[in-house]
């Protein structure tokens, strides 16, 4: 199913989420939904922290090397579906 997440919109790490670095990347815990999500790389964790600084998800993704961009984009979309990432 194609994602309904708008990459041209501004997104940020939800203010209800705590992010904690781990050797494999990070863990994200949503205090509202009590949902725990694994962030599978440190690069994605860093991007999550700074996501709110970009005018759009697309522009944030420009920071990611092209070869990895689509994979990171899908991960961000999944995180948006689960509320870890929310509209800015």
């Amino acid at each position: 199913m194609p994602s309904t997440i708008d990459r041209r919109a501004a997104w940020r790490l939800s203010p209800e989420v705590s992010l904690r670095d781990e050797p494999f990347g990070a863990l994200a815990y949503h205090h509202g939904t009590r949902r725990l999500v694994v962030v599978k790389s440190a690069a994605l964790a860093r991007l999550l922290e700074r996501l709110g600084e970009y005018p759009s998800m697309e522009e944030a993704l420009d920071e990611i090397p092209e070869g990895a961009r689509e994979r990171v984009a899908r991960a961000l979309e999944d995180l948006a579906e689960s509320g870890i990432v929310s509209g800015a």
């Binding site: 494999f24 863990l27 815990y29 205090h31 725990l36 999500v37």
Partner: protein, 369 residues
Amino acid sequence: MALESGLRDRLEGGLGAPICLTWELTYGCNLACAHCLSSSGRRDPRELTTAEARALIDEIAAMRIFYINIGGGEPMIRGDFFELVEYAIERRIGVKFSTNGTRLDSRAAERLAALDYLDVQISLDGADEATNDRLRGPGSYAAARRAMENLAAAGFGPFKVSVVVTRDNVGQLDAFAELAQGYGAELRLTRLRPSGRGADVWETLHPTREQSRELYRWLCEHPGTLTGDSFFHLSALGDPLEGLNLCGAGRVVCLVDPVGDVYACPFVIHERFRAGNVREGGLARAWRESPVFTDLRGAGSAGACVSCGSYDACRGGCLAAKFFTGLELDDPDPECVHGAGEVALALPRRRVRPTSEVDHSRRLPVVGR
């Protein structure tokens, strides 16, 4: 707690800090449940002071532990209960707490309802008074139902009705679900463990193998039932149950007891699994450096289970259930769905059931004070 699958191996290696921490606030309790995991009753004069408890919350926040499960004893008998809960939430730590409900009057319910990021679990071990009070003592059913009424009336939202599944109440799962639904509450089912006073009743009260199969089917038919990952030993019956499906002791969880001792999980209050004390060296050091925890994070031996096709599903089951029934840690779970635990328990070797030196039981049960 929901988690994507496929990360078990990483989690078994341990994390930089626990995902959640159980903190028993006091050994004092106004009930005397027959299966109490922490053998609670009398307060311990060495329990953390308010200042020490606040300092522990600061350390929990610094370690970025996502949430704490507060229990006891009965946590609400501590005069600083609300102060500590509110301070933890202020420090951005989610709080879930378990209570017998005896102190949860309408004023307390309103105060709780005003807090965000707080979950309340009311313990109830029978869908009717007779079943519940046999285990939890006379008056405990009525007190728990009153607490539920108070939370509902205060508009708390979906609290949890928390049930330890026993041979006596496993036939009441639908009734529990209905009871919870009547309050707009969620049902939480957990496993009876032979820990604390639970050791005295485990043999006669743990579900039979047939009952365990029924429980597994019920859980599969009722996804979303909260279990605190209790029943992962049942995942050997088929599709894995929701949750991590691994023993989290010292890997993703740990316990701080009322006097500040750090144990691998809430079900192993025993010297062998003590990693340190928050007063001496702190929680972070116990978590990161204690040999007890480091050992638990090793690959782990499948032991007698190595040739079993279900090992990948159940990982040999619960550490505490094995330890307190006198089994080796690489033995099968005593409630192994294939009966291997029963075989191990029946082996003629000398089996010593370890007992904990930590026991705050009162001599006579006192109820409803």
